[in-house]
Symmetry: C2
Subunit: 402 residues, 2 copies
């Protein structure tokens, strides 16, 4: 079979599996990303082995997956309006900050006290624990007609804060573990991260804000704002990667720059088909790399469950404590709402694996944690919300909605 | 630099160059595809050499370009409503048929009489000459407010016919030149092509027409018709490649199947961003493979110019003769309108090159022919139309339109 034939056959298998599993899980009221990960595990080389492999094909998978995650983070950035950061206020930023610090500290401490893992492995697990997948929680809030409540507003505001803070942590951690760890190395990475963000804010942002309306008005070429956005996404991703930060950091900040423009709404719409094409394939490929066998060696499965427990406790206690002034029932609901790690934790794991900092065992632990928190978060949040206050029961007969 | 960094840097260079050159050429009232090809030539390894290279990166470029051309042909299929084939009538189908036969015969004869080229090289050049890029002509017709005239209707109808006929020729030729040429081989390929088209028409078409409205109504997952379309595009492309036809044949027929559905209009809109992302990069990569040096060896440049002349004469005489009943001025305008080869000819050349049937010299000749016919076609058509009948002069001040 030609390489092109192998690639197309793989894309067919990956895409059909992704969309079927995603639709099935949505129908079961579960996150699509969990279905995509699990079907990837099923068709991957450690289970059914339905994909063709060759050095060129594997390298194409790796680069294609990276392209998917670059667009994923660009779109996450595009939906992160930094102006809303000022609006969410003290409460949400406190929730977001404590929700990053406590899980990071817990994860790092656990990995280090076992005495079996390198600094890089500990840092990557800790970083994966900082993530919050707000999409999963937002869906639960919408299902329970709880959007617009104080709980929902604090969760959604804190998640924006969490995203940005988590990206900065990842920027430093992904760079740190590439080279030897030292004080000067850490200082350099912090300086690079700060320089990158300042470049984005003080050069990229005004340039885009001046150019976007101008080229939109002049109609240079077809959909010029889309062309500018994709160009900037590639430029920032490449630049971030070249200076040792992860490519997705660049993509994320490129997205944020466009989030504030007037053209953000049509741009979000234009990015949807690209998301639908690339991102499901990314998650299936990530699932295909999970090696359940690796989890059965040593006591990795037990460790994975402890990591998952800390992932839940870290957010519930950290975010809950920060929100105690809203009453303990609201605080509990907010903490539980921040639990699902979803796609962002998986992205962190994929970077650790592709950079060779973590092996298949730790990778599988992080994926396990992301899948379990994404599955457990929604029912826990439903319980916390329904007990905490009167919420209308779910409307019957709406199972047909997307 | 990491492979990921190299890939992202290349994507940045490719995408920025593509969109800038495309916008510039549109502003100069020239086809964007010509700008993309020329800027590819400029940044490619035979000129400035602005792209990073490694075996993994080169293989990624090749597979990524293939993905672009698969979506390009899927979208061409999606815009080819086969029902309109019945409407265009005898005149347009005759124009389309003669416009395929005469250029093919002229190209094949030229390559064979020189006595220097293999059967495969002759067949690929002949096949590239059959193409018509209706997009370029449609833009000229729209500029001259000539859409809706008999000339425009015949050209647009004949181009649909030409597309389908050209794809069938390419299906057979691309398969033929893979194996040894023999009568039984030819019979097998014809049988495979017919079987593939029958499969698409009698299995794929009713299945899609039954499933598409159903999954659209049930709302399975996000944008389920898009998911079905992409899945079918990958499935048909892989199948075509596996049985020895070119992948794009499968993509083209998958597109045609969806062209008739009620969901075709939203699907076309959803495909636009994917087109804008992948297709400009494809053309720049195709331009980067042009080796002007190869043209200077032997008398390849002279041959390229003769091929271009035959490309023009083949369409003008072939299509013109078929339209003589409409008067010679209209016939001339129709023949000239079919001259631009644009993207379809380039796709044929890229398949020949990637399958190793044609070398860089013949590849560069075909690209030269495509660029020249795409540049010369529009002014010739303008002349023919303006002399042939009263056409309102171009409205002033519309240079700002996309």
């Amino acid at each position: 079979m030609s390489e092109l034939g192998q690639m197309l056959l793989n894309l067919f298998v990956l895409y059909a599996a992704a969309r079927l599993a995603g639709a099935l899980f949505l129908r079961l009221r579960q996150p699509a990303v969990v279905g995509e990960i699990l079907v990837g595990l099923l068709i991957g080389p450690h289970a059914l082995g339905l994909l063709q492999h060759s050095p060129a094909i594997d390298s194409f998978h790796a680069l294609f997956a990276e392209l998917g995650v670059v667009f994923l983070l660009f779109i996450v950035g595009l939906e992160t309006d930094p102006v809303s950061l000022w609006r969410v206020g003290r409460q949400a930023s406190l929730v977001g900050t404590l929700g990053v610090i406590l899980p990071f500290a817990l994860g790092y401490a656990l990995m280090q006290v076992t005495g079996r893992f390198s600094l890089g492995e500990s840092l990557f697990v800790a970083t994966a624990l900082t993530a919050t997948s707000v999409g999963i929680t937002a869906r639960v809030l919408a299902d329970l007609r709880a959007l617009g409540t104080v709980v929902a507003n604090v969760i959604l505001g804190a998640a924006v804060f969490d995203d940005i803070l988590g990206m900065l942590v990842l920027a430093v951690v992904s760079g740190l573990t590439l080279g030897a760890l030292s004080g000067s190395n850490l200082a350099l990475l912090l300086a690079e991260t700060v320089a990158f963000v300042l470049l984005a804010v003080f050069l990229g942002r005004p340039a885009v804000h001046r150019m976007a309306p101008r080229i939109a008005a002049r109609g240079l070429g077809q959909d010029p704002v889309f062309a500018l956005a994709v160009t900037l996404c590639f430029a920032f991703s490449a630049l971030a990667e070249l200076i040792g930060l992860a490519a997705i950091i660049g993509a994320f900040f490129a997205g944020i720059i466009f989030a504030e423009t007037k053209e953000a709404a049509p741009l979000r719409r234009a990015m949807q088909p690209i998301y639908q094409l690339l991102v499901p394939i990314f998650f299936v490929l990530m699932g295909a790399q999970v090696d359940l066998h690796a989890l059965s060696t040593g006591s990795l499965l037990a460790l994975g469950l402890v990591v998952t427990l800390l992932a839940i406790l870290g957010k519930v206690i950290g975010c809950g404590a920060a929100a105690l002034s809203l009453g303990w029932r609201n605080a509990l609901a907010i903490g539980v709402g921040m639990v699902p790690r979803g796609e962002v934790g998986i992205v962190v794991a994929s970077i650790g694996l592709s950079r060779g900092v973590i092996g298949p065992g730790i990778y599988s632990i992080v994926i396990l944690m992301c899948v379990l928190t994404s599955l457990l978060g929604p029912p826990l949040l439903r319980q916390a919300l329904l007990r905490g206050r009167e919420v209308p029961p779910e409307a019957p007969g709406d199972e047909g909605r997307p």
